[in-house]
Point group: C2
Chain length 180, copies 2
Amino acid sequence: MKELVEVREAVELLSRTPALLDLWLVALPEPWLTADEGPGTYTPVDVVAHLLHNEETDWLPRLEHVLEHGEAVPFAPFERDGFRDRFKDWPLERLLPRFSSARRENLDKLVELRLSPVDLNRTGMHPALGRVTLRQLLAGWQVHDLTHLAQIARVMAKRHSETVGPWRDYLGVLHDRVRA
Amino acid sequence: MKELVEVREAVELLSRTPALLDLWLVALPEPWLTADEGPGTYTPVDVVAHLLHNEETDWLPRLEHVLEHGEAVPFAPFERDGFRDRFKDWPLERLLPRFSSARRENLDKLVELRLSPVDLNRTGMHPALGRVTLRQLLAGWQVHDLTHLAQIARVMAKRHSETVGPWRDYLGVLHDRVRA
């Protein structure tokens, strides 16, 4: 059976994220990696830990949960900041290989599931959002990667919010609010 | 003479962008590469062309201009959409190697200039923004890369604005306004 286009496009995007983060962040001077947007916000390293935490407990595990339980058993809630305990003091050099292998395993599973168009309409129960389809979950996984890649660019850019002087008006990312 | 920390951190960041774009975008399924946010907005491929256009005429050339002319001769205006004529119909496979070599040449020049702390306070005249320092220009160059990396993530994410369904509320990048 041929892979669904939705699955193929998702795999193409999602498979690139670990190498992209590796190339972008490893051995970058420390001030880039420890930049944040204030108390409680994420540094670029926090983003990697959060993505790894998601990989272990959120998107693909929930997809399998829907295939097994449908709406009958809601997902376990996901702790957005759960990575802070789980991966406390893990450096980038330890987080990234782990994220890379977790992501690869999850995408291998996704492909092996050979989802059909009907499967994408199957529904599960999100503890806060209510009924969700697998199509929504698959899109959410991808947009979640992208929102955090945008966040890394934004957090690093804001190191220079003041330094850019009058160029500030031209550089939209400096005006984006703090958010995940 | 030891390189200034501002220059070293800039080079570390700026030197990674071409390879990062290559890894992220080359051979990605077409719908990701042709996504935009409406008429006149940039696709991911447009962003690469715009970055290349900047590399040839904007940041480093202006830095050299300041060292030569100070405030006496304002910069030539930069056409934000000038890439549309200059690189019309260039595919990613042609844009990216060109951007990569232009960026490398510019960073080599930057390092060879061996800027001093006093040099970073030297001023030039921006045709719209008025007096700017080299410190501001160097920061602007870096934030410009980051604002466009965030833009690529945002534009691609918005392909799935509707598809994510109720997850939309959790995915901040979908709520960012259209801007460079």
